[in-house]
């Protein structure tokens, strides 16, 4: 009894380790310290977005606009920087812009009761359009070295973006499991009607969660822009899918009420490991897409069967 329970509980962690070992066996370069830190760096952006997505999914929503928001806030950041705005001011500005965009999503969803899927599908298109409009589709580059350090610097042996992502993850984990606010989010996602009956002003919480998701997208854009030293209006394409996949592989249910930061972190790492490992094994990027798609479906299917058997 004990062993299967243990296996089920740590299934994701175990599969991640096994996957690393298999890829490392096929090509030892994969397990080198350089490559492992590289994976952390590559996963950082997705991880930050996935953290915001986890909150959204926990309250039973979805945010498809995150990828486009990365492009929009990234372009805004690039333009501010090349026009000589100080780095901290520019970053603060775009983070607020992200929060504003998320807030628009949230207010339409809660006030007009438009399904989150539709609203964020709309803002996904609109934000991408604005990002393209800003420079008529051209990219922006030529940033100061101070700004470029954000995406490429190393702190305590960990790439700075990954350092920030893990720090944020720890904060999110604490606030989800350790605060009243986090408990209320789970309650709303599990049974929003009961939450309302028992006195929660549900729309406010839902609204807040979308603001958080927009904010995290903007943060992700800061690190992405710095890392590639350019702001592209096409950046962040399909990032929403990676973020949703990370949360869902990590055990979040799209019907709301469940999901953990721990799971989403592992989910994001699993996707990062797959991308990196398959490249190292010289699997073409086309085949990678197919494999990652298949693995998402299998992971969720396994999770669902596990749930059903435990009930």
């Amino acid at each position: 009894m004990k062993v299967p329970h243990f296996l089920a509980r740590y299934a994701l962690l175990i599969s991640l380790v096994v996957l690393c070992m298999v890829i490392g066996f096929l090509n030892p370069v994969f397990l080198s310290l350089d490559n492992l830190t590289n994976i952390l760096l590559q996963s950082a952006v997705n991880l930050i977005i996935a953290l915001g997505m986890t909150f959204v999914i926990i309250v039973g929503g979805i945010d498809l606009s995150v990828g486009s928001l990365v492009a929009l806030t990234g372009m805004a950041l690039g333009l501010l920087l090349v026009h000589g705005v100080a780095v901290p001011v520019a970053i603060l500005g775009v983070v607020l812009l992200g929060a504003l965009c998320g807030g628009i999503n949230g207010i339409v969803i809660t006030r007009w009761r438009v399904p989150a899927f539709i609203v964020t599908l709309g803002t996904m298109s609109a934000a991408r359009g604005v990002a393209l409009m800003l420079t008529s589709g051209r990219s922006v580059s030529g940033f100061s070295s101070g700004f470029l350090w954000l995406g490429n610097g190393v702190v305590a042996g960990i790439p700075f973006p990954a350092f920030v992502a893990l720090l944020l993850a720890a904060l999110c984990a604490l606030s989800l499991r350790g605060t009243i606010w986090g408990t209320y989010l789970y309650a709303i996602g599990g049974n929003s009607k009961a939450a309302w009956i028992f006195g929660l002003r549900v729309p406010r919480y839902v609204w807040g969660v979308y603001i958080l998701s927009g904010t995290f997208s903007a943060l992700a854009a800061v690190f992405l822009t710095s890392r590639i030293a350019a702001a592209l209006p096409t950046a962040g394409t399909l990032y929403e899918l990676d973020a949703i996949a990370a949360a869902v592989i990590g055990g979040a249910s799209l019907s709301g009420g469940s999901g953990t930061v721990y799971g989403s972190v592992l989910g994001a790492l699993l996707i990062g490991v797959l991308r990196n490992g398959l490249s190292i094994l010289n699997v073409s990027s086309y085949v990678q897409q197919v494999l990652i798609g298949g693995i998402i479906i299998v992971a969720v299917a396994v999770e669902m069967t596990r749930h059903r058997s435990s009930e």
Partner: protein, 511 residues
């Protein structure tokens, strides 16, 4: 198996019985909805099915309609054994159900609805006009809902027109068994009479009919035989000509339980809550006073009583409910207001409206008082566990662990978790919907004890229930609601039970 024997048996039965249900049992997780119920309906016979709310009538209708496939027992239509596994199967077996809530494809026209869901199953790819029996349908339409074009969208019809359309739909079916669930509640007197003559005509053609109604007078005027359900069992099977209204009522509510000496409470004359002229969906105008430390029961037809409770708690619509609580005028717009003013509320549907399925039992219990157990802004799990532990011992909740999810608990224990949630926080006036529904006798007794304790501590209770004995046991006063005024019954009077039952029966009358 002697084939000759079987054939002979079939011949005899099929000439007599439209429906035979044997030992039908249906269990829900927390409740026995039906316990080994036998029902037989002969061809051409009209049988009335009556019982208090929760007696199992609607479960029986759902089984016949094919909506509950997991029942045990056997059902035979015209002596052919059938397994009613889906609404389609049920329809094909010749069962036509008139549900309490009309079900239509709301966006389609009357004509399309009659075509798609009336009687004949259309061929999927045939043109609509080909399968549409114009003449017959037009006749039926004219007969039942004159003045409406068949092209009218069903969604635009009134409740009354919908009911008539449902009847028209039944008229198009060639059915062996007709099941009518509360058919007359939305109809006028003359329309009811029209329905009755339709039913009698169907019966004269050899169709078996089951009529479920709250209105005892309707049942007496229409039915040949009356079957009474009580607590999921068949309590009586009476021929109309040999029984009386009082006998039916007695069978519905059973013998009076052994009178336990109800504790007397010193209820002060101070009003805890004064309700003046509030209006709910079905009750146009209601005024009453709840005194401090008092338990006041509300009952009535269907959900009339719960409707009042929901209105008070701010759950019905956006309108503000003006009430006087402890001498002060209060406007309740929504649940946060209600809580703020000192209301506690226990919903009838615990799982749907009260519990959080993905939160632990611990958090479900302490949900309303999380703010009291903070250390440096974070939840203090030790203190929370201690607080929940007190409630668990006090209410004797049986649970696997505090960390388990709420779904692992039985219905009675779920109810106690909800009670515990309020006990942690405390409320001055408790609004309770069916506080002991679905609980076994022991659990009911425990809940009664808890409620008495709440009253001793000075809280006032307003509870809705459909069970007369529960009301008499727990409440000092009972209000029987009906659209044309409410009746007050004092529980300590000797004739209280008789009065209550007859007042309840009167609420079913349309007059």
């Amino acid at each position: 198996m002697d084939p000759k024997h079987r054939a002979r048996g079939a011949a005899i039965d099929s000439s007599e019985l439209a429906l035979r249900m044997c030992e039908i049992t249906k269990d829900y997780p927390a409740v026995h909805a039906l316990k080994r119920v036998d029902i037989q309906v002969s061809k051409g016979e009209i049988v009335g099915l009556v019982g208090a709310n929760g007696a199992g009538k609607s479960t029986l209708v759902k089984i016949l309609g094919g909506q509950l496939k997991n029942y045990s027992g056997t059902i035979a239509i015209n002596n052919v054994p059938v397994k009613l596994s889906s609404p389609t199967v049920s329809r094909e077996c010749g069962i036509a159900v008139l549900p309490q809530e009309p079900q239509f494809a709301w966006n389609l026209s009357i004509r399309d609805n009659l075509l798609l869901f009336g009687g004949v199953r259309p061929t999927l790819w045939a043109p609509l006009s080909g399968t549409w029996n114009h003449k017959r349908a037009e006749t039926v339409l004219v007969q039942y809902i004159s003045g409406l074009s068949p092209d009218t969208t069903v969604g635009s019809l009134t409740r009354r027109q919908l009911q008539l359309l449902q009847i028209a739909r039944l008229a198009l079916c060639d059915s062996a068994l007709l099941v009518l669930d509360e058919p007359t509640t939305t109809l006028t007197q003359s329309e009811s009479q029209q329905l009755f003559s339709f039913v009698r005509e169907k019966a004269s053609q050899g169709c078996g009919v089951i009529v479920i109604s709250h209105n005892i007078d309707d049942v007496f005027s229409l039915c040949d035989r009356i079957i009474v359900l009580r607590d999921g069992s068949r309590a009586a099977d009476l021929s109309r000509n040999e029984t009386t209204r009082d006998a039916v009522l007695a069978a519905m509510f059973g013998p009076a339980p052994k009178k336990d000496i109800a504790e007397q409470f010193a209820t002060t004359e101070d009003a805890a809550l004064e309700v003046r002229k509030i209006r709910t969906q079905s009750i146009p105008n209601l005024s009453f006073t709840l005194r401090q430390g008092e338990a006041l029961g509300l009952t009535g037809r269907n959900s009339d009583a719960t409707d009042v409770i929901r209105t008070l708690y701010g759950l019905n619509g956006d309108s503000t409910t003006d009430i006087i609580m402890f001498g002060q005028h209060r406007g309740v717009r929504n649940p946060p207001d209600a809580q703020h003013f000192g209301f506690g509320y226990i919903p009838e549907d615990r799982m749907r409206d009260g519990l959080f399925p993905t939160l632990s039992i611990l958090l479900n219990i302490t949900f309303l008082v999380l703010g009291r157990y903070l250390r440096h802004g974070a939840l203090s799990w030790g203190a929370l566990r201690k607080a929940a532990g007190h409630i668990v011992t006090e209410l004797r909740i049986t649970l696997p662990s505090l960390e388990a999810t709420i779904g692992t608990l039985s219905g009675g224990n779920q109810q106690r978790v909800l009670l515990g949630r309020w006990l942690c926080r405390g409320a001055r006036i408790y609004l309770l919907e069916e506080p002991t529904a679905g609980m076994d006798v022991a659990a009911k007794e425990e809940v009664t004890v808890i409620m008495r304790r709440l009253r001793k501590e000075g809280a006032s209770l307003l509870m809705s229930s459909n069970d007369p004995d529960e009301l008499l046991r727990m409440c000092g006063r009972i209000l029987v609601l009906s659209p044309h005024g409410c009746t007050e019954i004092l529980a300590d009077q000797s004739a209280a039970r008789v009065d209550l039952i007859s007042a309840l029966a009167d609420t079913g009358n349309t007059q």
